[in-house]
């Protein structure tokens, strides 16, 4: 039992730090660069993201293993997963608006952004590819969400610090964001080898 627990823990650590989606798998970059300009939006996005990620990981697992696999239509995974994600985003949009308008006011705008984010699609695709169990895909979703949130928040705090810096004209904006991400990725290389995968 204890070793099981350690496995889930390792999965979360590996998805969030070692194989961080942004720094080593290069996913979600559009949103990453778009949303990390302000700390407040970064935090909001992280929260929304992690929640949606876990739900979609769980639901995709159920649909893939209980419906698609028995029917032999696993080749349709992309279409089905994108449908599931669109459905979840739409549903949480509606539910949040009804149940908690305050929260919707704060986080609603990020929901729309989520469906065009590749991480949210990559999580079910990877966990299906790795043949994770239900709990494992849930842990993977959680770790990926936390890792993306961590990346966003670090990036936002660094960009805030650089607001007044005299960055050369050609590097202003996105090129500099890439360089910063490259240096963070360089630092995060230190985590490699922490867990043997």
């Amino acid at each position: 039992m204890e070793s099981e627990f350690i496995k889930y823990f390792e999965l979360i650590i590996s998805a969030s730090l070692i194989n961080n989606f942004v720094f080593t798998r290069f996913l979600g970059l559009c949103i990453f660069f778009g949303v990390s300009k302000k700390m407040e939006t970064a935090v909001g996005m992280s929260i929304t993201f992690t929640a949606v990620m876990m739900i979609s990981a769980a639901l995709s697992w159920v649909v893939f293993n209980k419906v698609m696999d028995p029917l032999g239509i696993t080749f349709l995974e992309i279409i089905v997963f994108i449908g599931i994600i669109a459905g979840i985003v739409q549903a949480s949009d509606t539910i949040m608006r009804k149940v908690s308008p305050g929260l919707y006011y704060k986080l609603g705008i990020y929901l729309a952004l989520i469906s065009t984010n590749c991480i949210i699609l990559a999580v079910p695709l990877v966990s299906v590819g790795e043949k994770y169990s239900f709990l494992q895909s849930l842990a993977f979703g959680l770790g990926s969400g936390l890792g993306f949130g961590l990346a966003l928040i670090i990036m936002a705090s660094i960009r805030e610090k650089l607001e007044l810096a005299d960055v050369p004209a050609a590097f202003k904006g996105l090129p500099m964001a890439f360089v910063i991400t490259g240096l963070i990725a360089l630092a995060f290389t230190g985590f490699s080898g922490l867990i043997t995968l």
């Binding site: 720094f23 290069f26 050609a170 490259g182």
Partner: protein
């Protein structure tokens, strides 16, 4: 076809390559620009896959534009895109298995490319088949161009080699330097640095080019 419309087509084609280059200018669909570009061959095939999907999606949407109900157009667009991506994925798995083994995940994620949906919505759903196809080709070639430049740079600097595809399953590896000159360029961290520096280079050319025309401050 009249001469005026052919000029328009040319502009439409070049638009996607230069003015609205997906990666260097619009900064969209960035994930594969780093993920698959540590090897020239993978970069080229990824670019070709996007070129194929973009063109086919544009053609399909343009063909269907009259029969699609506006209210359900987004789900239909998504279906068309993911359908073509699935087809691309299967074709690549069948014919270029070694590339597919490396870039498979990113092929699947073409679905989430904002640029493809945007072109379908903004251009193909309003224009006839030929301009849509040209637009798709232009955007796709622009993407292919960007990936080729990035992967050329990264593989050459990172490994001292260039892997040039000579066919679907054949390739030739040119070795320029026997030791790996700056290995980090083929690693994740170096990918970000390389793309950042190349983007800055494009910006710099832009700034200089614009300065020549404009009055200096």
């Amino acid at each position: 076809m009249s001469s005026t419309s052919s000029i328009n087509l040319k502009d439409q084609f070049l638009n996607g390559i230069i003015k609205e280059n997906t990666i260097f200018k619009l900064a969209l669909s960035l994930c594969p620009s780093i993920a698959v570009t540590n090897n020239l061959k993978n970069g080229i095939f990824m670019g070709l896959a996007v070129l194929f999907v973009q063109t086919m999606v544009n053609i399909t949407i343009s063909l269907m534009r009259k029969i699609i109900q506006p209210k359900v157009r987004l789900p239909i667009f998504m279906l068309v895109i993911s359908g073509w991506v699935t087809i691309t994925q299967m074709l690549m798995a069948a014919f270029v298995p070694d590339v597919y083994a490396k870039v498979g995940l990113y092929i699947a994620l073409i679905v989430a490319f904002a640029s493809i949906l945007a072109r379908a919505e903004m251009f193909a759903s309003k224009n006839s088949i030929i301009p849509s196809m040209v637009d798709g080709l232009g955007m796709g070639v622009g993407f292919l161009f960007a990936l080729t430049v990035i992967s050329f740079f990264r593989e050459l600097v990172g490994k001292g080699t260039l892997t040039v595809p000579t066919g679907l399953s054949t390739q030739h590896v040119f070795t320029f330097i026997n030791t790996k000159p700056v290995l980090i360029m083929v690693l994740p961290a170096g990918g970000f640095l390389a793309v950042g520096i190349l983007m800055a280079l494009f910006n710099w050319i832009d700034i200089r080019y614009m300065k020549r025309g404009a009055v200096s401050h």
